[in-house]
Amino acid sequence: MATESLGFIFLNALVINNFVLALFLGICPFLGVSGKLDTAFSMGLATTFVMLISSVCAYFINMVLVEFDIEFLRLIAYIAVIASAVQLVEMSMKKFSPTLFRALGIFLPLITTNCAILGLALFQTFREYDFTQSIAYSFGAGGGFIIAIMLMAGLREKLELADVPAIAQGAAMTLMIGGMLSLIFMGFAGMGGA
Protein backbone atom coordinates (compact mmCIF):
# COMPACT_ATOMS: atom_id res chain seq x y z
CA MET A 1 0.00 0.00 0.00
CA ALA A 2 1.36 3.43 -0.94
CA THR A 3 1.64 5.87 1.95
CA GLU A 4 1.82 9.17 0.07
CA SER A 5 -0.70 11.87 1.01
CA LEU A 6 -3.54 12.68 -1.37
CA GLY A 7 -2.27 16.22 -1.98
CA PHE A 8 1.16 14.96 -2.92
CA ILE A 9 -0.22 12.36 -5.33
CA PHE A 10 -2.33 15.03 -6.99
CA LEU A 11 0.55 17.49 -7.32
CA ASN A 12 2.93 14.78 -8.47
CA ALA A 13 0.67 13.78 -11.37
CA LEU A 14 -0.27 17.41 -12.11
CA VAL A 15 3.15 19.01 -12.61
CA ILE A 16 6.14 17.04 -11.32
CA ASN A 17 5.52 13.96 -13.41
CA ASN A 18 3.23 15.57 -15.94
CA PHE A 19 1.78 12.82 -18.12
CA VAL A 20 2.50 14.55 -21.40
CA LEU A 21 5.68 16.51 -20.81
CA ALA A 22 7.58 14.23 -18.46
CA LEU A 23 6.23 10.74 -19.09
CA PHE A 24 5.35 11.06 -22.81
CA LEU A 25 1.87 9.63 -22.45
CA GLY A 26 -0.89 10.93 -24.71
CA ILE A 27 1.43 12.54 -27.24
CA CYS A 28 -0.93 11.85 -30.16
CA PRO A 29 -3.79 14.11 -28.95
CA PHE A 30 -1.20 16.57 -27.64
CA LEU A 31 0.18 17.03 -31.16
CA GLY A 32 -3.03 16.43 -33.07
CA VAL A 33 -5.79 18.31 -31.23
CA SER A 34 -3.81 21.31 -29.98
CA GLY A 35 -4.57 23.60 -32.92
CA LYS A 36 -7.29 25.67 -31.24
CA LEU A 37 -7.73 26.66 -27.61
CA ASP A 38 -11.40 25.70 -27.20
CA THR A 39 -11.06 22.31 -28.88
CA ALA A 40 -7.98 21.65 -26.80
CA PHE A 41 -9.92 22.45 -23.63
CA SER A 42 -12.77 20.12 -24.59
CA MET A 43 -10.26 17.40 -25.38
CA GLY A 44 -8.60 17.92 -22.02
CA LEU A 45 -11.92 17.74 -20.18
CA ALA A 46 -12.95 14.60 -22.04
CA THR A 47 -9.61 12.97 -21.27
CA THR A 48 -9.91 13.81 -17.57
CA PHE A 49 -13.40 12.33 -17.58
CA VAL A 50 -12.25 9.10 -19.22
CA MET A 51 -9.27 8.92 -16.87
CA LEU A 52 -11.65 9.07 -13.92
CA ILE A 53 -13.79 6.27 -15.33
CA SER A 54 -10.81 4.09 -16.18
CA SER A 55 -9.21 4.69 -12.80
CA VAL A 56 -12.33 3.49 -10.98
CA CYS A 57 -12.73 0.53 -13.37
CA ALA A 58 -9.08 -0.47 -13.06
CA TYR A 59 -9.25 -0.40 -9.28
CA PHE A 60 -12.13 -2.85 -9.13
CA ILE A 61 -10.87 -5.09 -11.95
CA ASN A 62 -7.55 -5.40 -10.19
CA MET A 63 -9.35 -6.45 -6.99
CA VAL A 64 -11.09 -9.23 -8.92
CA LEU A 65 -7.89 -10.30 -10.70
CA VAL A 66 -5.93 -10.50 -7.46
CA GLU A 67 -8.77 -12.39 -5.80
CA PHE A 68 -8.70 -15.13 -8.45
CA ASP A 69 -4.93 -15.01 -8.95
CA ILE A 70 -5.15 -14.30 -12.69
CA GLU A 71 -3.01 -11.17 -12.92
CA PHE A 72 -1.59 -12.21 -16.30
CA LEU A 73 -4.95 -11.23 -17.77
CA ARG A 74 -4.59 -7.69 -16.43
CA LEU A 75 -3.78 -5.96 -19.71
CA ILE A 76 -6.58 -7.63 -21.68
CA ALA A 77 -9.10 -7.09 -18.89
CA TYR A 78 -8.19 -3.43 -18.44
CA ILE A 79 -8.41 -2.52 -22.07
CA ALA A 80 -11.64 -4.42 -22.69
CA VAL A 81 -13.43 -3.07 -19.61
CA ILE A 82 -12.23 0.51 -20.07
CA ALA A 83 -13.26 0.55 -23.72
CA SER A 84 -16.72 -0.79 -22.99
CA ALA A 85 -17.21 1.49 -19.96
CA VAL A 86 -16.42 4.53 -22.09
CA GLN A 87 -18.81 3.29 -24.77
CA LEU A 88 -21.54 2.87 -22.15
CA VAL A 89 -20.97 6.34 -20.71
CA GLU A 90 -21.00 7.81 -24.20
CA MET A 91 -24.36 6.20 -24.94
CA SER A 92 -25.96 7.31 -21.69
CA MET A 93 -24.53 10.78 -22.11
CA LYS A 94 -26.06 10.99 -25.58
CA LYS A 95 -29.45 10.10 -24.09
CA PHE A 96 -29.47 12.16 -20.90
CA SER A 97 -27.26 15.17 -21.59
CA PRO A 98 -27.03 16.15 -25.25
CA THR A 99 -25.24 19.42 -24.41
CA LEU A 100 -22.43 17.61 -22.66
CA PHE A 101 -22.34 15.08 -25.47
CA ARG A 102 -21.93 17.80 -28.07
CA ALA A 103 -18.99 19.25 -26.15
CA LEU A 104 -17.13 16.03 -25.39
CA GLY A 105 -18.79 13.34 -27.50
CA ILE A 106 -16.62 13.35 -30.59
CA PHE A 107 -13.47 12.97 -28.53
CA LEU A 108 -14.60 10.04 -26.42
CA PRO A 109 -14.10 7.21 -28.93
CA LEU A 110 -10.75 8.73 -29.92
CA ILE A 111 -9.31 8.63 -26.44
CA THR A 112 -10.54 5.23 -25.38
CA THR A 113 -7.36 3.59 -26.50
CA ASN A 114 -4.96 6.34 -25.64
CA CYS A 115 -1.71 5.59 -23.85
CA ALA A 116 -2.42 8.17 -21.17
CA ILE A 117 -5.59 6.33 -20.16
CA LEU A 118 -4.09 2.84 -20.06
CA GLY A 119 -0.87 4.23 -18.56
CA LEU A 120 -2.82 5.76 -15.68
CA ALA A 121 -4.55 2.44 -14.97
CA LEU A 122 -1.25 0.54 -15.06
CA PHE A 123 0.67 3.05 -12.94
CA GLN A 124 -1.92 3.16 -10.17
CA THR A 125 -1.79 -0.64 -10.05
CA PHE A 126 2.02 -0.74 -9.91
CA ARG A 127 2.06 1.80 -7.10
CA GLU A 128 -0.71 0.02 -5.19
CA TYR A 129 -2.80 3.13 -4.63
CA ASP A 130 -6.01 2.64 -2.68
CA PHE A 131 -9.36 3.92 -3.94
CA THR A 132 -9.15 7.57 -2.86
CA GLN A 133 -5.50 7.77 -3.90
CA SER A 134 -6.44 6.45 -7.35
CA ILE A 135 -9.10 9.12 -7.71
CA ALA A 136 -6.64 11.84 -6.65
CA TYR A 137 -4.11 10.46 -9.11
CA SER A 138 -6.56 10.49 -12.00
CA PHE A 139 -7.62 14.08 -11.25
CA GLY A 140 -3.98 15.14 -11.11
CA ALA A 141 -3.14 13.39 -14.36
CA GLY A 142 -6.19 14.84 -16.11
CA GLY A 143 -5.41 18.34 -14.82
CA GLY A 144 -1.83 17.96 -15.98
CA PHE A 145 -3.04 16.94 -19.42
CA ILE A 146 -5.33 19.98 -19.60
CA ILE A 147 -2.46 22.30 -18.60
CA ALA A 148 -0.10 20.82 -21.19
CA ILE A 149 -2.52 20.77 -24.10
CA MET A 150 -3.82 24.29 -23.39
CA LEU A 151 -0.32 25.74 -23.14
CA MET A 152 0.47 24.13 -26.47
CA ALA A 153 -2.77 25.33 -28.08
CA GLY A 154 -2.21 28.90 -26.88
CA LEU A 155 1.31 28.94 -28.25
CA ARG A 156 0.20 27.48 -31.57
CA GLU A 157 -2.54 30.09 -31.95
CA LYS A 158 0.07 32.80 -31.45
CA LEU A 159 2.40 31.04 -33.84
CA GLU A 160 -0.07 31.38 -36.70
CA LEU A 161 0.84 35.05 -36.89
CA ALA A 162 4.57 34.39 -36.80
CA ASP A 163 6.82 34.00 -39.80
CA VAL A 164 7.88 30.36 -39.63
CA PRO A 165 10.14 28.96 -42.38
CA ALA A 166 8.34 26.54 -44.68
CA ILE A 167 10.25 23.42 -43.69
CA ALA A 168 9.62 23.92 -39.98
CA GLN A 169 5.86 24.27 -40.31
CA GLY A 170 3.68 21.56 -38.82
CA ALA A 171 4.94 18.70 -36.71
CA ALA A 172 8.58 19.77 -36.44
CA MET A 173 7.67 23.16 -34.95
CA THR A 174 5.13 21.61 -32.60
CA LEU A 175 7.72 19.15 -31.33
CA MET A 176 10.25 21.89 -30.70
CA ILE A 177 7.68 23.83 -28.67
CA GLY A 178 6.88 20.61 -26.82
CA GLY A 179 10.56 20.28 -25.99
CA MET A 180 10.69 23.78 -24.56
CA LEU A 181 7.55 23.23 -22.49
CA SER A 182 9.07 20.00 -21.25
CA LEU A 183 12.24 21.88 -20.32
CA ILE A 184 10.15 24.32 -18.29
CA PHE A 185 8.33 21.52 -16.52
CA MET A 186 11.66 19.98 -15.54
CA GLY A 187 11.87 22.83 -13.08
CA PHE A 188 9.11 21.20 -11.06
CA ALA A 189 11.26 18.11 -10.59
CA GLY A 190 12.99 20.01 -7.79
CA MET A 191 9.80 19.56 -5.77
CA GLY A 192 10.65 15.87 -5.44
CA GLY A 193 8.53 12.85 -6.19
CA ALA A 194 9.16 9.66 -8.05
Binding site: F24, L31, L183
Partner: protein, 228 residues
Protein backbone atom coordinates in the same frame (compact mmCIF):
# COMPACT_ATOMS: atom_id res chain seq x y z
CA UNK B 1 -11.16 -22.18 -49.53
CA UNK B 2 -13.48 -19.30 -48.91
CA UNK B 3 -16.43 -18.89 -51.18
CA UNK B 4 -16.40 -15.11 -51.21
CA UNK B 5 -15.50 -13.54 -54.53
CA UNK B 6 -11.82 -12.64 -54.58
CA UNK B 7 -11.06 -9.03 -54.94
CA UNK B 8 -8.32 -8.35 -57.40
CA UNK B 9 -5.07 -8.85 -55.57
CA UNK B 10 -1.85 -7.54 -56.91
CA UNK B 11 1.08 -9.97 -56.68
CA UNK B 12 3.51 -9.71 -53.82
CA UNK B 13 6.21 -7.18 -54.51
CA UNK B 14 9.14 -5.48 -52.84
CA UNK B 15 7.08 -2.30 -52.69
CA UNK B 16 4.89 -3.69 -49.91
CA UNK B 17 7.99 -4.04 -47.78
CA UNK B 18 9.76 -0.82 -48.72
CA UNK B 19 6.67 1.35 -48.31
CA UNK B 20 6.74 0.92 -44.55
CA UNK B 21 10.47 1.51 -44.33
CA UNK B 22 10.71 4.75 -46.26
CA UNK B 23 7.75 6.13 -48.17
CA UNK B 24 5.19 5.59 -45.42
CA UNK B 25 7.53 5.44 -42.46
CA UNK B 26 5.18 5.25 -39.46
CA UNK B 27 7.13 7.74 -37.36
CA UNK B 28 8.67 10.28 -39.71
CA UNK B 29 5.94 10.43 -42.34
CA UNK B 30 2.72 9.31 -40.70
CA UNK B 31 3.51 10.53 -37.16
CA UNK B 32 1.99 7.47 -35.52
CA UNK B 33 2.94 5.87 -32.23
CA UNK B 34 4.83 8.86 -30.93
CA UNK B 35 4.66 7.97 -27.24
CA UNK B 36 7.16 5.07 -27.22
CA UNK B 37 9.27 6.88 -29.83
CA UNK B 38 9.89 9.71 -27.41
CA UNK B 39 9.84 7.81 -24.16
CA UNK B 40 12.14 4.82 -24.54
CA UNK B 41 14.78 6.21 -26.87
CA UNK B 42 17.17 7.50 -24.21
CA UNK B 43 19.63 4.75 -25.15
CA UNK B 44 20.28 2.67 -28.25
CA UNK B 45 19.65 -0.69 -26.62
CA UNK B 46 16.26 0.39 -25.24
CA UNK B 47 15.29 1.70 -28.66
CA UNK B 48 16.31 -1.56 -30.32
CA UNK B 49 14.43 -3.69 -27.79
CA UNK B 50 11.29 -1.60 -28.16
CA UNK B 51 11.51 -1.79 -31.95
CA UNK B 52 11.89 -5.56 -31.95
CA UNK B 53 9.06 -6.02 -29.44
CA UNK B 54 6.71 -3.82 -31.47
CA UNK B 55 7.65 -5.58 -34.72
CA UNK B 56 6.93 -8.96 -33.15
CA UNK B 57 3.49 -7.86 -31.99
CA UNK B 58 2.82 -6.22 -35.35
CA UNK B 59 3.73 -9.32 -37.37
CA UNK B 60 1.96 -11.83 -35.11
CA UNK B 61 -1.25 -9.84 -34.86
CA UNK B 62 -1.20 -9.26 -38.63
CA UNK B 63 -0.94 -13.01 -39.24
CA UNK B 64 -3.81 -13.83 -36.91
CA UNK B 65 -6.07 -11.02 -38.08
CA UNK B 66 -5.39 -11.84 -41.71
CA UNK B 67 -6.21 -15.51 -41.02
CA UNK B 68 -9.45 -14.63 -39.28
CA UNK B 69 -10.45 -11.80 -41.59
CA UNK B 70 -13.48 -13.61 -43.02
CA UNK B 71 -14.80 -14.82 -39.67
CA UNK B 72 -14.58 -11.59 -37.63
CA UNK B 73 -17.96 -9.81 -37.65
CA UNK B 74 -17.74 -6.22 -38.89
CA UNK B 75 -19.42 -4.66 -35.85
CA UNK B 76 -16.98 -5.98 -33.25
CA UNK B 77 -13.84 -5.96 -35.34
CA UNK B 78 -11.99 -3.23 -33.43
CA UNK B 79 -12.62 -4.94 -30.10
CA UNK B 80 -11.43 -8.24 -31.57
CA UNK B 81 -8.27 -6.64 -32.92
CA UNK B 82 -7.50 -5.09 -29.56
CA UNK B 83 -7.94 -8.39 -27.73
CA UNK B 84 -5.66 -10.15 -30.25
CA UNK B 85 -3.03 -7.42 -29.93
CA UNK B 86 -3.27 -7.43 -26.13
CA UNK B 87 -2.67 -11.18 -26.09
CA UNK B 88 0.58 -10.85 -28.02
CA UNK B 89 1.70 -7.90 -25.93
CA UNK B 90 1.20 -9.96 -22.78
CA UNK B 91 3.42 -12.66 -24.31
CA UNK B 92 6.13 -10.10 -25.15
CA UNK B 93 5.85 -8.60 -21.68
CA UNK B 94 6.55 -11.92 -19.98
CA UNK B 95 9.29 -12.90 -22.46
CA UNK B 96 11.23 -9.67 -21.88
CA UNK B 97 10.80 -10.08 -18.14
CA UNK B 98 12.31 -13.57 -18.45
CA UNK B 99 15.22 -12.54 -20.68
CA UNK B 100 16.45 -9.39 -18.97
CA UNK B 101 15.04 -7.78 -15.87
CA UNK B 102 17.21 -4.67 -16.39
CA UNK B 103 15.71 -4.10 -19.81
CA UNK B 104 12.23 -4.73 -18.42
CA UNK B 105 12.73 -2.09 -15.75
CA UNK B 106 14.21 0.39 -18.23
CA UNK B 107 11.28 0.09 -20.62
CA UNK B 108 8.78 0.14 -17.76
CA UNK B 109 5.10 0.34 -18.63
CA UNK B 110 5.88 1.07 -22.26
CA UNK B 111 6.01 -2.62 -23.15
CA UNK B 112 2.41 -3.02 -22.03
CA UNK B 113 1.51 0.22 -23.73
CA UNK B 114 2.37 -1.35 -27.10
CA UNK B 115 -1.32 -2.35 -27.02
CA UNK B 116 -2.39 1.22 -27.65
CA UNK B 117 0.25 1.93 -30.27
CA UNK B 118 -1.75 3.35 -33.18
CA UNK B 119 0.58 1.78 -35.77
CA UNK B 120 -0.53 -1.74 -34.90
CA UNK B 121 -4.24 -1.00 -34.86
CA UNK B 122 -4.08 1.02 -38.06
CA UNK B 123 -2.21 -1.82 -39.82
CA UNK B 124 -4.82 -4.28 -38.58
CA UNK B 125 -7.73 -2.14 -39.68
CA UNK B 126 -6.43 -0.85 -42.99
CA UNK B 127 -4.27 -3.71 -44.23
CA UNK B 128 -4.31 -7.09 -42.47
CA UNK B 129 -8.11 -7.27 -42.46
CA UNK B 130 -8.20 -6.86 -46.25
CA UNK B 131 -5.20 -8.76 -47.57
CA UNK B 132 -3.94 -12.33 -47.60
CA UNK B 133 -1.40 -13.52 -45.08
CA UNK B 134 1.78 -13.29 -47.15
CA UNK B 135 1.11 -9.68 -48.09
CA UNK B 136 0.10 -8.69 -44.55
CA UNK B 137 3.24 -10.24 -43.10
CA UNK B 138 5.54 -8.53 -45.59
CA UNK B 139 3.84 -5.20 -45.02
CA UNK B 140 3.95 -5.63 -41.24
CA UNK B 141 7.65 -6.50 -41.40
CA UNK B 142 8.30 -3.34 -43.44
CA UNK B 143 6.35 -1.17 -41.01
CA UNK B 144 8.11 -2.79 -38.06
CA UNK B 145 11.51 -2.22 -39.64
CA UNK B 146 10.62 1.39 -40.40
CA UNK B 147 9.55 1.90 -36.81
CA UNK B 148 12.74 0.26 -35.49
CA UNK B 149 14.91 2.41 -37.74
CA UNK B 150 13.14 5.53 -36.52
CA UNK B 151 13.63 4.50 -32.91
CA UNK B 152 17.31 3.81 -33.58
CA UNK B 153 17.71 7.21 -35.28
CA UNK B 154 16.55 8.85 -32.07
CA UNK B 155 18.17 6.41 -29.67
CA UNK B 156 21.69 6.65 -31.09
CA UNK B 157 21.67 10.44 -31.35
CA UNK B 158 20.34 10.84 -27.83
CA UNK B 159 22.79 8.35 -26.36
CA UNK B 160 25.82 9.78 -28.18
CA UNK B 161 25.03 13.36 -27.20
CA UNK B 162 23.53 12.70 -23.81
CA UNK B 163 25.94 10.16 -22.40
CA UNK B 164 28.87 10.18 -24.83
CA UNK B 165 28.50 6.45 -25.42
CA UNK B 166 27.19 4.10 -28.09
CA UNK B 167 25.67 0.82 -26.89
CA UNK B 168 27.46 1.46 -23.60
CA UNK B 169 30.95 1.99 -25.06
CA UNK B 170 32.46 5.43 -24.43
CA UNK B 171 33.16 7.36 -27.65
CA UNK B 172 34.79 10.65 -26.80
CA UNK B 173 37.20 10.05 -23.92
CA UNK B 174 37.08 11.75 -20.56
CA UNK B 175 37.05 15.38 -21.73
CA UNK B 176 33.56 15.14 -23.21
CA UNK B 177 30.90 16.88 -21.18
CA UNK B 178 27.63 14.98 -21.80
CA UNK B 179 24.54 16.98 -22.76
CA UNK B 180 22.40 15.57 -20.00
CA UNK B 181 19.27 17.25 -21.33
CA UNK B 182 19.31 14.91 -24.32
CA UNK B 183 18.59 11.90 -22.10
CA UNK B 184 15.88 13.76 -20.18
CA UNK B 185 12.37 14.21 -21.63
CA UNK B 186 13.01 17.51 -23.50
CA UNK B 187 15.80 15.83 -25.50
CA UNK B 188 13.28 13.45 -27.03
CA UNK B 189 11.17 16.30 -28.36
CA UNK B 190 14.20 18.20 -29.67
CA UNK B 191 15.84 15.24 -31.44
CA UNK B 192 12.60 14.10 -33.08
CA UNK B 193 11.89 17.68 -34.14
CA UNK B 194 15.36 17.93 -35.68
CA UNK B 195 14.93 14.68 -37.61
CA UNK B 196 11.62 15.94 -38.98
CA UNK B 197 13.34 19.16 -40.03
CA UNK B 198 16.04 17.20 -41.85
CA UNK B 199 13.48 15.08 -43.68
CA UNK B 200 11.44 18.15 -44.59
CA UNK B 201 14.61 19.70 -46.02
CA UNK B 202 15.35 16.59 -48.12
CA UNK B 203 11.79 16.58 -49.41
CA UNK B 204 11.93 20.27 -50.27
CA UNK B 205 15.19 19.80 -52.19
CA UNK B 206 13.70 16.88 -54.06
CA UNK B 207 10.54 18.71 -55.13
CA UNK B 208 12.56 21.78 -56.11
CA UNK B 209 14.83 19.60 -58.21
CA UNK B 210 11.85 17.94 -59.87
CA UNK B 211 10.10 21.20 -60.73
CA UNK B 212 13.34 22.58 -62.12
CA UNK B 213 13.75 19.48 -64.20
CA UNK B 214 10.21 19.76 -65.49
CA UNK B 215 10.50 23.41 -66.47
CA UNK B 216 13.79 22.72 -68.23
CA UNK B 217 12.12 19.88 -70.11
CA UNK B 218 9.22 22.16 -71.10
CA UNK B 219 11.55 24.86 -72.36
CA UNK B 220 13.45 22.30 -74.41
CA UNK B 221 10.24 21.02 -76.02
CA UNK B 222 9.10 24.57 -76.81
CA UNK B 223 12.47 25.40 -78.35
CA UNK B 224 12.46 22.33 -80.51
CA UNK B 225 8.89 22.99 -81.72
CA UNK B 226 9.82 26.61 -82.53
CA UNK B 227 12.81 25.42 -84.52
CA UNK B 228 10.68 23.39 -86.92
Amino acid sequence: MNSKPRTKETPLSMDDFLKGVWEENPVFVMLLGMCPVLAVTNSTINALAMGVATTFVLVCSSILISLLRHSIPKQVRIATYIIIIATFVTIVDYVIQAISLDLYNALGAFIQLIVVNCIILSRAESYASKNRISKSVVSALGMGLGFTIALLCLGTVREILGAGTLLGFPLFGTNFEPWVVMILPPGGFFVLGSWLLIFALIKQRKTQHETQHKTLHKIKIEESSHGH
